[in-house]
Amino acid sequence: MEMENEMNEPSYWPSVFLAGVIVAFIMSALGLGSGYMTLGSEPTGETFSAASFLGILVCLIAGIAGIIATRHYAREHDVTFPIGRGALIGFLSGVTAVTISTLVGLLWTAVIDPNMNQALYDWQIMNMEAANMTEEQIEMTLKFTPKPGSMMAVLSQFGIGLVVIGIFNLLTGMIGAKVFASEE
C-alpha cells in the first residue's frame, strides 16, 4: 500500500532541476561578475573588496535552491509532504546547482575567456605583494591554494561546494517543506 502511494506521488525532479538551473545561472553570473570586478581593481593588499561583497550574494542565492524547489513542488502539484522529503529535494537542488554552475564556469574559462584563470592567479600574487607579504609567506600560501582553473582547484571547489551547498540546501529544503507543504 505504501509502495503504491509512493508510486502515485508526482516526481520532484522537475522542481529540483528548475531550482538548480535558476540558482546555478545566478551563481555563475555573480561568480564571474565578482572575478571581473577583482581583475578590474588595483591589488591593494586588502583581503576584502567590493568584489568579495558581490561574492556573498552567491552564498545567499546558493542557499535558496531548497526553498524554490520545495515551494514549486508543493504549489505545482498541490501536495503536502514530510520534512524528510523537503530535505532530500533541497539537497538534490543544491547538488544540481553546484554541478551546473561548475560546468558553466568550466565552459566560460575554456571557450569564452581562457585567460581569466591565469589573470586571477597573477592578481592574487600581486595582491599578496601589495600586502607586504614576504616571498616565503607567498610561496607557503600558494602551496595551499590550488591554481585557479587547474584540475585540483576545480575538483576541490566542486567537492566542497557539493557538501557545503548541499547541506545548506538540505536545511532550506526542510524550511521550505515546513512553510509551504506542512501536513499540519
Binding site: T145, V164, M174, V179
Partner: protein, 160 residues
C-alpha cells in the same frame, strides 16, 4: 503538566546534528588547533571550505589563538546558535510547551532584524560591531533551529 516526547525523522536529526557540529568546529578556523600566524590563517583549508558562503573579511571576524575564524562574526553566531539549539532540542521539547509558539514569525523577524542591521550599516545610519553582528547571528541561528523543532519532537502533554 508534563510532556512526553517522541522523535520523528531520527536519522535526519542525527545527520543535521553531526553536520552542524562539524561545520561549526571548522568555522572556528585553524586557531582552535593551536597558535597560528594571522596571514597564514586566511589561506587555511577552513577558509577555502567557507569561501563560497561567507565574505570572510578579517576586519569583521573573531580570531582564536591568533588565527582568524573561517567565517565572519555574524556567520559564526548563526552556526553556534543553530548547533546549540539543535543539540538541546530533546531537552527543550521536554521542558517547554511548544504548542502555539509563533516560530515562523520569530524566524521571519530574525531575518528582518539582520537585514535591517546590514542595511543600516551599509547606509552609515549606524555602525555595527563584531559583538552586535554575533548576537544578531545567534538570534537567526536559534530561530532557524526552533522553526524545525516541532517536526522532530512531537509533544504530548500529560496531566500530573
Amino acid at each position: 503538566m508534563n510532556a512526553t516526547i517522541h522523535i520523528e525523522h531520527k536519522g535526519l536529526y542525527v545527520f543535521v546534528l553531526f553536520a552542524s557540529m562539524i561545520l561549526t568546529i571548522l568555522a572556528l578556523g585553524p586557531g582552535i588547533f593551536g597558535a597560528v600566524d594571522p596571514v597564514a590563517s586566511i589561506h587555511s583549508i577552513q577558509h577555502q571550505i567557507f569561501n563560497m558562503v561567507c565574505h570572510q573579511d578579517p576586519l569583521r571576524s573573531f580570531s582564536v589563538n591568533g588565527g582568524y575564524m573561517a567565517v565572519c562574526s555574524r556567520c559564526i553566531g548563526i552556526y553556534a546558535g543553530f548547533t546549540i539549539i539543535w543539540l538541546g532540542m530533546p531537552w527543550i521539547a521536554r521542558m517547554f510547551k511548544l504548542e502555539n509558539v509563533p516560530f515562523l514569525q520569530l524566524f521571519i523577524g530574525a531575518i528582518m532584524l539582520n537585514l535591517v542591521d546590514v542595511f543600516g550599516n551599509l547606509i552609515q545610519f549606524w555602525t555595527n560591531t563584531d559583538g552586535s553582528r554575533f548576537i544578531f547571528g545567534i538570534i537567526f541561528g536559534v530561530s532557524t533551529a526552533l522553526l524545525l523543532i516541532n517536526e522532530f519532537f512531537k509533544q504530548k502533554m500529560i496531566e500530573d
